[in-house]
């Protein structure tokens, strides 16, 4: 099936080359980071995780979001998702690859990364995160590839693949739960120290992942003759609606607990993010944009008339994707570090190099995604023809 990735029209190759160029430029920036150290980033003693870990966190969500098509299809035999399930699995592969790259980009001593395996430490959540992420990558490759192969040969998927499919469903919940545990088990970091962090992560994941998938479907439908089907699109739109509502609801629960209890440790991070603290507030406009985007998206999605209009649906997905990205990919990590444990306000702003390196990882993910989608769609077309 791989040979399908080598045949493509001009648009396909242009995309591939553009992505490769971005990856190349980012690679050079990474060399700078590799030789100088993480000092080329905006991180500091007080904000010791930045853009990389934030992207990683957001993308774990996108990866987990794929389960929102796999679950109805495999567990409830929801046939309408037949065509896009494979796309969900391939999106998960690309996202997890980006997650792993972001972790590597964030390490101070990347050449020692294998120490995590050489000295396995079960009391560290990072150890478990590495296991679940690699496991999820492996599961999706196995399942995605075999199901696609079977489809090409017009036979049902082999029986031995079933256990892997069933495991991959709770596993998807697992990757984002463990990722939330990275943060919510740390004493003294009150913004993260909340039992609702994992559910909140999952809710935002199940909105962001399927939103991206829908947007990708719209693009693919435009450039190829692949059609995921109206029913699948509307079903996915409903899933996104519930998930984004849950996400905003969980967030409001946080706000209530913080401000009704009025415990300073709990309110201070929210204040920093939404109104600024001691004159510092780079994230304030972003956070409000995020809230507005998600709210507008909810209004548009709840109303069946607007949801069924595909252009409006597309806009809603874009709003949700950006809104959840700001929430997790910008606010979640810096928000937790500011103010510092000693109550100093040292803000974090990513540097240009840091942003280019991050773009490079995104480009790598989209490179993988493009190739995988190309293969999947060629197979679908072969089968249809």
């Amino acid at each position: 099936m791989l040979e399908n990735a080598l045949k493509g029209n001009k648009g396909y190759w242009t995309l591939i080359i553009v992505l490769l160029v971005i990856m190349g430029v980012a690679g050079l920036c990474y060399l700078k980071q590799f030789t100088f150290g993480l000092g080329i980033t905006g991180m500091s003693r007080d904000v010791s995780w930045g853009f990389y870990i934030a992207q990683f966190t957001f993308l774990v969500g996108v990866a987990a979001g794929g389960v929102m098509v796999a679950l109805p299809y495999y567990l409830h035999n929801y046939k309408a998702f037949g065509k896009i399930t494979i796309l969900g699995e391939f999106l998960a592969i690309a996202s997890v690859s980006m997650c792993l790259l972001f972790i590597l980009a964030d390490l101070g001593q990347v050449q020692r990364a294998l120490n995590v395996l050489l000295h396995p430490t079960p009391h560290s959540v990072l150890f478990w995160d590495m296991i679940v992420l690699n496991g999820y990558l492996f599961l999706n490759i196995i399942v995605g590839w075999n199901v696609l192969e079977a489809e090409r040969n017009s036979v049902p998927p082999p029986q031995w693949i079933k256990p892997f499919i069933y495991i991959s469903i709770p596993w998807a919940f697992g990757i984002h739960t463990v990722t939330a545990y990275l943060f919510c088990g740390l004493p003294g970091r009150h913004y993260w120290l909340t039992a609702i962090l994992a559910p909140r992560f999952l809710a935002s994941a199940f909105a962001a992942g399927p939103s991206l998938l829908l947007l990708l479907c719209f693009i693919i439908r435009k450039v190829t003759n692949f059609d995921p089907g109206k029913q699948a699109i509307q079903a996915l739109a409903k899933i996104i609606t519930y998930a984004i509502i849950a996400n905003v609801f969980f967030f409001l629960c946080e706000v209530f607990v913080a401000f009704y209890s009025n415990i300073p440790g709990h309110t201070v991070h929210l204040k920093y993010l939404f109104v600024g603290l001691h004159g510092h507030g780079v994230l304030v406009p972003w956070m409000w944009a995020s809230v507005i985007f998600m709210t507008v998206a909810i209004i548009l999605l709840v109303n069946p008339v607007t949801r069924q209009n595909e252009s409006i649906l597309m806009v809603s997905c874009i709003l949700i994707f950006i809104g959840t990205w700001i929430d997790k990919g910008l606010g979640m990590i810096s928000g937790g570090f500011v103010p510092s444990p000693l109550h100093h306000v040292n803000e974090y702003v990513p540097t240009i190099l840091e942003i280019i390196i991050s773009l490079g990882v995104w480009a790598t993910g989209f490179f993988i995604l493009t190739i995988l989608f190309k293969i999947a769609i060629s197979v679908e077309q072969e089968v249809e023809a």
């Binding site: 030789t35 993480l38 390490l107 990347v110 120490n115 000295h119 990275l182 004493p187 003294g188 109550h343």
Partner: protein
């Protein structure tokens, strides 16, 4: 002509690649090179000081101003090769000073007396009895020794900074760049660090191993006491018995081993 141009391009290309790759190799090479003498020597000599749970009592009544703290901080910085890197984002701190409201964030008191309000407090790693940094570290590069000291293996650290997020006292620093250019007078008896690893106060484990008290204790004119919290007859236990002491963020259950008399 065509041929020579082609080979020129080839050579140019290869050298450009070399320029890019060389620094990468250098980093690998240099981390190898330093590996030999990088390990601090914690192995216990005959006269080593031993204890079950080392602890520290800081008598803040003996300090008046920043001037009193400076020699203590400088002493630790110089023997441990702590760089002065000028850029705030890159700073490395093992022991430093901060105000009461920052050192004791959960003992906020808007009417605290004038002396405490303006007194600079020494802050450093607490060598917690239940250290969250150790729990978080995925490689055991941060670990707790039988004598209670929370130590670091600079060679195993992958620089993931999970321990920094886990420490509720901001005690840890990360080498955002090569620290060596920032060290004015290098102490050959203690290793310098490489970029990309975390570090913090080690309760002078290398000095305890040769029978010496921690440097900050030595230069404090009796304001800082150090000893075995597990030994009821130790000086620290006597001080704790006779004086009311406080610790930083006790509500988090980390059980700090650094106590303050205020």
């Amino acid at each position: 002509m065509k041929n020579s141009r082609r080979s020129f391009l080839k050579i140019a290309g290869v050298s450009a690649l070399g320029l890019v790759i060389k620094p990468v190799f250098n980093t690998f090479a240099s981390s190898e090179e330093h590996a030999e003498h990088l390990k601090p020597d914690f192995s216990k000599k005959n006269n080593a000081l031993t204890g079950k749970r080392w602890g520290m009592v800081i008598d803040t009544r003996k300090f008046q101003s920043e001037e009193d703290l400076k020699p203590i901080i400088d002493a630790c910085n110089s023997i441990h090769n702590i760089p002065d890197l000028k850029v705030k984002n890159h700073e490395i701190k093992w022991i430093w000073e901060d105000e009461y409201e920052h050192a004791f964030t959960d003992s906020e008191n808007e009417y605290v007396n004038e002396r405490v309000k303006h007194l600079p407090f020494l802050v450093l790693c607490n060598h917690c009895d239940d250290p969250p940094c150790v729990r978080a570290c995925p490689t055991k590069a941060t670990f707790k020794r039988e004598d209670g000291i929370v130590l670091m293996d600079f060679h195993r650290c992958i620089g993931c900074r999970f321990c920094m997020a886990a420490c509720p006292y901001g005690s840890r620093s990360f080498n955002f760049r090569d620290p060596r250019p920032g060290i004015e007078h290098q102490n050959p008896d203690y290793p310098t660090r490489t970029k990309g690893v975390v570090e913090k106060c080690n309760f002078c484990a290398e000095r305890l191993a040769v029978g010496k008290m921690p440097k900050c204790v030595e230069v404090s004119n009796g304001a800082i006491a150090f000893g075995d919290l597990d030994d009821p007859d130790s000086t620290v236990r006597k001080l704790l018995k006779e004086n009311y002491t406080i610790r930083r963020k006790p509500s988090l259950g980390t059980h700090p081993s650094v106590f303050y008399i205020v």
